[in-house]
């Protein structure tokens, strides 16, 4: 049961990052291999602010702003110019791999190659039913739940969310209906970056110390959750994250915790073998679901 408790915290972090990735992918149709760096920059931003203040919301705002800014820049400087020239998805993918590596090196230049410590004082332990959580664990889960609910309402109810789904469905048709698709895509990146940045900060807080490869090494987990849920499906991403988070932490109770990421990968392979379309039933197929 302790494992399940930790699993829920991990699932919350994975879900934030995965839902952001899924939304970005379904609206822009490009695979962003530099997604991990959005997390990493969020972690570093939170870490920098924490040097001056222990105020968590301020650290979170910095993390989200840094992630949003980097994501906006990735779109503006890489994805959009190449998409405008009709660059193929493969080209964009390769470019985002390069961006990922370059960003990791930039982080290393700025922050050094060694681990930096990032802690919070919010570590009082609570027993909730069979689970044992610290204050920050609970904060992470509550905030993640709130963000996911916000995303749900935005996607389903707001004009912006509907425009995002329309662009995801058919960008040309959306444009003939008057949707400024480039603006929608740009804002989607910003949102993606903000949420991924927050997820990165939470991840760093949870592990306590990190390097420039924090997000990169987590990319496999995030991609696994996205694919397990059915790539590009937002609600699938939430469920996939839950599965991956629980499997990672529960397995860590029984076998060496350093195999956590391998477990995520194992689930991915199993799903690809038996349900390549993801674990969400076929009836919910569609763009942003």
């Amino acid at each position: 049961m302790l494992g399940v408790g930790f699993g829920l915290v991990t699932a919350a972090i994975v879900a934030l990052s995965t839902v952001a990735l899924s939304l970005q992918f379904s609206v822009t149709r490009s695979i962003n291999f530099a997604h991990g760096e959005l997390m990493t920059i969020g972690a570093y931003a939170g870490y920098l602010v924490a040097k001056h203040t222990s105020d968590l919301p301020l650290q979170a705002i910095a993390a989200m702003a840094a992630g949003a800014l980097l994501a906006w820049f990735l779109n503006w400087g890489l994805f959009r110019p190449f998409a405008r020239r009709g660059g193929s998805n493969l080209v964009l993918f390769v470019i985002s791999v390069a961006a990922s590596l370059i960003l990791q090196n930039v982080f290393q230049l700025i922050f050094g190659a060694s681990y930096v410590d990032y802690h919070t004082s919010a570590t009082r332990a609570y027993h909730v039913g069979p689970f044992q959580w610290t204050t920050i664990d609970i904060v992470i889960m509550v905030v993640a739940a709130a963000v996911l609910l916000f995303m749900h309402l935005m996607i389903r109810r707001t004009k912006f969310g509907k425009a995002q789904r329309a662009v995801a469905d058919d960008i040309l048709l959306a444009r003939t209906a008057g949707v400024g698709a480039e603006r929608i895509i740009s804002l989607t990146w910003v949102l993606d970056g903000a949420i991924a940045g927050l997820a990165g900060m939470f991840l760093a807080l949870q592990v306590g110390s990190f390097t420039s490869t924090l997000g990169f090494t987590y990319l496999l987990v995030v991609f696994s959750a996205a694919i397990v849920g059915g790539i590009g499906k937002m609600y699938g991403a939430m469920l996939g994250s839950l599965v991956i988070g629980l499997v990672m932490e529960v397995s860590a109770m029984y076998i060496n915790p350093s195999y956590k990421e391998t477990m995520a990968f194992l689930i991915l392979v199993l799903v690809l073998l038996f349900r390549p379309q993801g674990i969400i039933p076929a009836l919910s197929e569609g763009a942003v679901r």
Binding site: K159, K162, A163, R165, A166, A168, D169, D170, L172, L173, A174, R175, T176, A177, G178, V179, G180, A181, G286, A287, V288, R289
Partner: protein, 263 residues
Amino acid sequence: MPTWGVSVPPDVLQGEEKPGAPGASSPSSAPTLIVENLTVGYGSAPVVQDVSIRAKPGELTAIVGPNGAGKSTLLKGIAGVLRSTTGSVRIGDDDVTNLVPERIVRRGLSYVPQVANVFPSLSVRENLEMGWYIGHGDGKHRVEEMCEMFPALRDSLHRPARTLSGGQRMMLAFARGLMLKPKVLLLDEPTAGLAPKIVEQVWSHVLEIKASGPAILVVEQNTRRSLRDADWGYVLTNGRNNLEGPGPELLADKDLVRLYIGG
């Protein structure tokens, strides 16, 4: 009588016709859509060359021609989906040549493509709302009016558009295109692949809408049907203007029928 058009004051819309009877436009009324010497293609080779088309308010203008003649390409060029290399497109006095599609729709043009004309994962209601995307205020009253005009939509408002039958899909695409009360409506093969009964329904909607004022430019495979009701028809072959005239007259031209329409 609601006024047609989006962001234009009512007094400049639809000329000087009595608001109560916009369908009764005289043959001499000025065209709403004026396409002159348009050349459009994909990449370097032009598909449509030097084509000129006019469509008047309250009239049905049909474009017919064999497969691959460039009819869809022409509509894409008018709607801004493809860039034209020469020529011009005007809506009234408004030059809209090579504006991006999201701008052209603001000038009062609605384009209903031949395929992929609904948002599959959006519900029927959301599809209609997308038709009102640039409209002012909420479009609830228009959704309601569309449900009255196309009763089949009302029962499916909450279903994703991908679950609709071909006929329902077409009705939805059509209704979406009407949400803003466009001055110009482009319809690309609205009856393609539909059962004969549904074809009749779609077609009667076309005539009903025509009576309410916009200039309708329709591309049809079903040449007989469209020319019979068309106030003016254009025959497009190999991407060029070939013949034009009142629809029924074109249909009476035996050579034309034999060459391009068959039987």
